[in-house]
Symmetry: C2
């Protein structure tokens, strides 16, 4: 069992990292890990070894399924914690229009096609057409808040008004979508929990709406008042941490008792508790990071274990489902945005953002497959929809906007242009030494670089205080920005605003016509080294790798520099994506 879990976790995270390196959602790599380890590849190559390590029946398989159920419940807690109802309310008019459009159109389209031609979409004979059509319609209309937030962060749109609309609409969409899904599962009868009594559909719907309503009003109000009490009178941080997790498990137990899937309860607990300002960042980070980096990769990798993706890939089914999903979402959302007064270009950006499905679609499909609402072919189609829509969102949004991807300065930092110990004892010599290192690593003319940087330095010192200086210059015909770093342990007199000697030099070269690169990079460097002890941390490094490790830790878990636009309220950003630990960007 431990080998199974270890292999799932390690391979999922490695391929997830690879996917992120290629600017794709991490969940893509995690799924790929499962497909490689499951019956699609490893099971085909070595059937007996595969059965030993990843058994499909017997006690170990049961235990693994139990652990994944627990992981799902905890993961939905984190997803719920990312939902910010206050943000939705602020952007309520446009968000409602976009959310409703993005819900109704694909739902209607999906329901119509599934109702008319269920066999085409892979319904097993003998299933209830109504339930199948309802599920398919829901699957078409779901969004994926986490992957949308990550895509927006990547292309530097999260804090803009446009980004706020997309996020708010996605929250609305997800809330309604999961509630409909919960009710569909309830309609199928209480097969989920042995302890759940048999209920009529009407009763399930009433209990679901009642529980959801109570959690989102009374529950929120109560939690906001209970949290400070727990922090004050129980041990810290253990009190709140255990309380939140126990509450998620209780929520799961309640929805199972109602006859719904357990995940819906922990999702609602997440929504209710996540918004409280009394839930401190450190507690939040512990819950999110552990669940996102331990349970979530195991969930997504385990998906590939149960299904043979090659044998169940049905091209016509995939093509039709993908068409319905994209057409419905794009038409619905852009219509909603246009009707609320957005420009055509903005409407398309919003619609493309909303079209991402990511992990949500896959979770929905996984549960539907377990409960036999759909078969493996439809499941594979849903996974393909999730991946394709998530992968195309970012690039297409950038193209429509005519923008480029945001970068961190570490993306253009070269290992060869890192000087661990500057020999120079003066400002001018240090700049010349670092310029020479950078010029040789980038294949530039040393004299040209040095003179451009020195000239800029003479106009005004580039020391920014806190032992940091960022000498910089623009060069003609530079194809891309290049950055070098030099450390000076004794320190250099640099005429800094705080009078302190400079110990960390970051040299930035950009093109003359650089489209804002220089400003972005300087701002990113300055904010990275803002903490008081940032430079002393950097000076402790004894190699380029150690230096990079320190800088990455200083940058935190966020994928790109946060640049809040003036006048935009940024509460939702804190809550939805730049929060520590949310840099994973599956979803």
């Amino acid at each position: 069992m431990f080998l199974t879990l270890a292999l799932l976790l390690l391979s999922a995270r490695l391929l997830g990292e690879l996917a992120k390196r290629l600017h794709q959602p991490a969940v893509l790599g995690e799924l790929a890990a499962g497909i490689l380890l499951g019956p699609t590849v490893f099971g085909r190559l070595a059937p007996s070894a595969s059965q030993t390590i990843f058994p499909t029946s017997g006690e170990e398989a049961q235990v693994l399924r139990g652990i994944i159920s627990l992981a799902l419940v905890l993961f939905l807690l984190v997803v719920g914690m990312e939902v910010n109802l206050a943000g939705v309310r602020r952007q309520s008019r446009i968000a409602l229009a976009v959310g409703a459009g993005g819900m109704v159109v694909p739902f209607g389209l999906g329901f119509l096609v599934a109702w008319m031609a269920p066999a085409l979409l892979g319904m097993s004979s003998g299933s209830d057409v109504m339930i199948f059509a309802l599920f398919f319609a829901t699957a078409m209309s779901i969004s994926a808040l986490p992957v949308i937030a990550k895509t927006l962060t990547d292309i530097n749109l999260l804090s803009s008004d446009l980004g706020m609309v997309v996020i708010s609409a996605a929250i609305f969409n997800d809330l309604i979508g999961w509630m409909i899904f919960a009710i569909i599962l309830g309609m199928m009868g209480g097969s989920h929990a042995a302890a759940a009594p048999h209920r009529e559909t009407v009763q399930v719907v009433a209990l679901t709406l009642g529980f959801a309503g109570a959690m989102l009003t009374l529950g929120r109000w109560l939690l906001h008042r209970i949290l400070p009490w727990i922090q004050a009178y129980l041990s810290w941080p253990g009190g709140v941490l255990s309380f939140t997790l126990a509450l998620a498990l209780f929520g799961a137990a309640v929805t199972e008792w109602i006859g719904l899937h357990a995940i819906f309860g922990s999702f609602l607990v997440g929504v209710a508790i996540g918004e409280s300002s009394h839930l401190r960042e450190r507690t939040r980070a512990v819950i999110e990071q552990f669940i996102s980096f331990f349970f979530a990769p195991i969930i997504f990798a385990s998906i590939g274990l149960g299904v043979d993706f090659a044998a169940n890939f049905d091209l016509p089914l995939v093509a039709i489902a993908l068409l319905i999903a994209c057409a419905g979402k794009l038409i619905g959302c852009s219509a909603g945005a246009r009707l609320s007064g957005m420009s055509t270009r903005e409407s398309w950006v919003v619609a493309l953002g909303m079209n991402s499905r990511g992990a949500m679609e896959i979770l929905l499909g996984t549960i539907a497959l377990r409960d036999q609402v759909i078969n493996q072919k439809t499941f594979v189609a849903l996974v393909v929809i999730a991946l394709v829509t998530s992968m195309m969102a970012g690039p297409l949004m950038l193209r429509v906007l005519g923008r480029k991807r945001a970068r961190r300065f570490t993306d253009v930092l070269a290992a060869k242009a890192f000087v661990l110990e500057l020999a120079a004892a003066t400002k001018e010599d240090a700049i010349a030494e670092l310029a020479a290192a950078l010029a040789s690593s980038a294949g530039l003319d040393e004299g040209l670089v040095a003179s451009a940087v020195q000239e800029r330095e003479r106009s005004m010192s580039t020391a920014v205080g806190n032992h940091l200086a960022i000498p910089h210059a623009r060069l003609a015909n530079l194809p891309a920005p290049v950055i070098g770093v030099g450390l000076s342990r004794p320190g250099l007199a640099f005429d800094a605003p705080d009078g302190e000697p400079v110990q960390v030099l970051v040299l930035v070269l950009t093109a003359i016509n650089d489209d804002g690169d220089q400003i972005d990079l300087l701002a990113d460097i300055a904010s990275t080294f803002k903490p008081g002890d940032a430079c002393s941390q950097a000076l402790a490094a004894r190699s380029y790798t150690e230096f990079l490790a320190v800088v990455k830790a200083l940058q935190g878990g966020v994928g790109s520099p946060s640049r809040a636009l003036p006048g935009v309220k940024t509460t939702i950003i804190v809550n939805a994506a730049t929060r520590p630990g949310n840099g994973r960007g599956s979803g």
Copy 2:
């Protein structure tokens, strides 16, 4: 299943908090929760409801056992991370003497009695006497690093030389004890994992020593070099987090393959990785907090589910085992300490500290019970030993030393002496206002308090900068220190060293002959409000409860103020007890 987990987690944590409030180890309350929910109490009162919620057989029971196995493996990772080999090496001579004495004497005594009179100690007929005697001897000689570290913190001894010796000896003791236990389990044959090949005892011992040796030398060296690389080139903090957890699972799989229990592998991984300075505090905190506050309470509460503590309580057995455990440990450790040149009093303090067993003994017993090395009666006796030795360590050490328990200022802060909004506009009026509030809440004479504080204030301003002032005075016949807090949002001119107005006033009254109370409290208050934004955080509070919540978060997870004694190396403290998230203090 979710209801089961939720009930276990919530009741364990609540009773754990209660135990801590009574200055007892949290594990005591967690065990009590399981005893209440299990066959001892709830099962006796409502047998059918108990079977539904906590089934002892069937699929759900299997899944629960699987989740607890996973929890055990992860918990031992955290236990391993707390072991600091460098600290042991620094104190190596005395620590070795104490550790060896505390190992050999109880082991010998335990083995002798168990070998001579196995039936008396509850050995089931038909078991192997050799294995039973070896196990019983190991159980007598184990220590419990986490509970020892917590006890030392509580009584302010952790950073002293005496504390260092106890911690180092306990680490030595635990390392050897777990290795012997692993070998005993291995001797019983590979019943733990289906995939494990059958091995001879000699082979198991050789593989165990080889694996442990490799992990503690090559593994440590390698991990220290790999960690910065992961931080630099994979996403942060997800990369290191997933890597550590995956490694623990791999370690577990390796020891299962050898034929040992899985927990030994994750323990070794924890020792190897925990010592690397490249494992950042934030990553460490996420792993420790989530595991300590989610998995650990579930583990300890679940122990009570399997055993009827009332029916299996065998007084003669408990008495004899407790006698052997305490006599062996106290004699062995104090002899070791005396022989290394410590004074008689110090030797007794060290021996009393080492005598705590806590969670380790219970874990050992749980696994032995599962693997049928011992029966339920012996198991209950081991649990009693663990609890009694842990509970008596702190009070007895204090009595031998003639000291008293360390306090945080929040322990003596009174809700009634909290002024949310001081009406006063000057320093003198504010002190008078706060003094009046404190005097009325503590039943003191208002004029007396005010004049004593004002007089002290006139001699030199008690403003310490950063918007904080700590007016204070000593009063005759004050039975115990009392503290009041007043907030002034407009700020008061206080002649502070940084020239800033004072917004947070903490008024401290102690007795004239206060045995250091005043100094301790002033130091604790100053260090609590040291962060730059501490006062603005406090001012955001809108009630006493919210104020207390902010202060608790500022104090972090540590149970008592850290006061490093001059000249004592404090590395081990960081690693063993005051690290964030380690305030749980089970063990």
